[in-house]
Symmetry: C3
């Protein structure tokens, strides 16, 4: 592909793709701006990286429409678009080597149960086990060693990496990706305490429903509901090693970073951004577009949309940062207290010398 | 099943099961009180849910013996028992659809090693691998893709969900459940530092012993001991993504929520309740019935029974909450300090105007 | 083996191994000093354990060259070496029962792709799946159910426990150990936000490179780079359930305890020691030999070597501990403020009684 090919490719996604420089230069692949070699394409979406424009060896730079590039145009070629970051993502995809998740067709070692419906153009890898009554849509890739217990239903264009597991009756929408070790639909953590101190297990009879365009990271666990459904709405992205408890609802286009834990029956709104290692107590809710800083511990409902939370117990970011600053200055507060006490003592002595000794 | 059938069923577990209403109503299944439809059974174990009694569409409500239900008896039927929550758990179980963990018998694709003892009525799923010298008790369900390395011993009535793994010589008691991705007996994290900065691995020669009636969540790891045993005593319940380090002892009927990490050689007493994302430093102990709030970091032994701990470093809940309140009021303390200083300055000026300027 | 055999064995590793007592005593195996029985060998590397020398039933004690043992020499036999802890590790290894990771050879049920290079003396366990174009060095043990996607390259003497997974193009050095459920090379968590609130996936085109002598714990995830490599340098030891984000570099001989999370593009130096449940924000760096206390949250770069960090936001350990002490004494500060205000009020009244009332 040369620069002009990339221009034509990007015109599928953007109204305007302006070429500044030589469209005939061959482009071998994408790279980071600091590391790019001659012949490679890179991008500048953030002012922080503008400083590299001068020195980068990349032959093609994808930049914003506003960026003045005239001074560099004898050295590099530019394509100017509205959203250079997204444009570069499309270019990455274009150059990505095809990755084999599973060979075409049903591997001879895959075990497929009774009454299974498998769509067209589906790959099922070696040793995958598909339980009775499962349904798999078109164009799915189920890699080696995946297990679908009975009655699992999967939409079209899903990708299950090796060793992903769905317990019985889990439902995935279209274009869902499960990474290796993701466990969808294991039993919620529910036990009824008995008088003498032991517990009896509460049967976890519900299911998990995963919406369209959801991606779930490696070794993440999403527990089934006790009754009803645990729901991850369309477009949500969940990182590795996250725990989603039983009966939770994760809103559409919400992003949850690694190692965060969501206790049972929590309702998270749409378009939230949850940092890593966050914890949430059970039965609370977060409004749409809530953002939570890493490591926060949410102990109550926050129902105002778009709030930014931090700390444990989590509170509004501004309040939390003010308190953190006060804590960093506690030794100064203590010194001021010491000084005040000394001064007051001195004043008392001055005003009434007879009291001393 | 109709209401009378349920009454008779519950009489197995409770001395008194009082019927208020029509025993002939057919009950189709259990549901949450807010979501129940006509024909379903629900329960009220907690006053918070009494408000739904009036509006629920459920036909049968399981309630406490003390609850006055007369005013609703023309609308719903009631069964009154001492512990409606536990009664409802039994009803859940009664209605639960049978779940196939593994088909009866040893799957033809399962690999069973030499000198393996397998009890009666055992199911071993597709592609499960049972190492040499393993012993599996009666009525066990070992799902697809489970791996038992050599010398693993499993009691009766155990359930291993797909992809559960036991390293060599691990011992499980009776009625143990391992969820998918649980790893029992991986090497403890032990390395001897060498002078030049590298490490040599300390062989982890011990085992893991899991007592009766233990349930271990998805992707949880319980490491083997360096020497001796890591022990999880009977009745303990461990949630998903928990880490139990080498040589720990987890007491009987202790409950540990998701993503908690227990460092090596920690001893946790019986009937403790440990919240999620708690961390414990190595070699410490918690007395029986200790309760630990989520996200706490335990840095020392707490030997008084029944304490409630919170915070990092964890301390008695009351002390911790008092400190959290003080922190929330730090800006007020600072304002008071400012005022005091100003006032003192003013007093000094008044008492000795000559000092100013 | 008797004591003299052990002496000769240790002389491979230490210049001086001094025998005090009877070299002919038979030694059956290693044990902890408090739990050892007659015939067993134990060690004292730490003064804390000297108190057990008198009472231990062990027949042989490995101790430091400086330890005076004369008074006990009629009861036990001693071998004196420079580093008794490391000496004991070698003894542990010597007595360790051989552990079968996989039977010799390629299991008949293993699936090996096209153009795979397999070295000499390699074991590949039941149902392992080796993708096209993989390369496996000599003396490797690949256990049952491991999956190597296409193009994975593994050095010599590696051990992959059951269910370890490497995504495509991952590279492992020599003597690398992956425990069960470790996932190397899953996609980094990268999504480009779109105007209307949804995300598009950023193709993760990079790889993971693991250096020599690295051990990676059960259910730990190391994500592949977006472009370039995520790198774990030689000698690093990573515990269970750790998350290493895309494009990170973990320095040589660095140790990371369980449940720690490292966000994308973090660079950790050599010989660092990172406690459990630590979190690190993206794009920061830690200098060589940095030590981080458990549960810390690192929010910025620390470029001074050898620093000890603690708390959230993490800071120098000494500053953090001073602040924690101040927080524990906040109620006292508040009491002092109360007293000062009262006293000042009283002074005002005394100095100007007319103002009161």
């Amino acid at each position: 592909m040369n620069v002009s090919d990339i221009q034509i490719f990007l015109q599928q996604f953007f109204d305007q793709v302006e070429l500044v420089g030589d469209g005939g230069v061959d482009i071998t692949g994408p790279a980071r701006i600091e590391q790019a070699s001659e012949g490679e394409v890179t991008f500048v979406a953030n002012e922080k990286y503008s400083k590299y424009i001068d020195s980068t060896k990349a032959s093609l730079l994808i930049v914003g429409t506003q960026l003045p590039v005239g001074q560099y145009s004898n050295r590099h070629t530019f394509l100017k678009v509205k959203d250079p970051y997204t444009a570069f993502v499309f270019i990455l995809e274009k150059y990505a080597a095809p990755r084999k998740i599973a060979s075409p067709g049903i591997a001879p070692t895959a075990v497929v149960g009774r009454n299974v419906r498998i769509g067209s153009n589906v790959s099922v890898g070696e040793y995958a086990v598909i339980g009775d009554g499962c349904s798999i849509g078109d164009d799915c890739l189920i890699a080696a060693h995946c297990v679908l217990m009975d009655g699992v239903s999967i939409g079209d264009h899903c990708i299950l990496f090796p060793h992903a597991v769905c317990y019985d009756s889990v439902r995935l929408g279209n274009r869902v990706t499960l990474h290796t070790g993701a466990v969808i639909g294991a039993d919620g953590f529910g036990f009824a305490p008995q008088r003498e101190g032991s517990y009896i297990k509460i049967p976890q009879m519900g299911i998990v429903e995963i919406g369209d365009d959801v991606e779930i990271g490696a070794n993440t666990t999403v527990d089934r509901a006790t009754m009803g459904s645990t729901v991850v709405e369309h477009g949500a992205k969940i990182d590795n090693l996250v725990q989603i408890g039983h009966n939770c609802r994760i809103g559409s286009d919400t992003v949850i970073a690694s190692q965060t834990g969501v206790s049972g029956s929590v309702v998270i709104g749409s378009r939230c951004m949850i940092g890593g290692q966050v914890g949430m107590a059970g039965h609370l809710a977060l409004a749409d577009r809530t953002r939570v800083a890493a490591k926060a511990g949410i102990t109550k409902t926050f129902s105002k949309q778009g709030q930014v939370l931090r700390g444990y117990p989590a509170q509004d970011m501004k309040d939390q940062l003010r308190q953190e600053a006060l804590i960093r200055n506690l030794d100064r507060m203590k010194a001021r207290l010491d000084a005040l006490e000394a001064e007051l003592e001195a004043m008392k002595k001055r005003s009434n010398p007879a009291f001393t000794a």
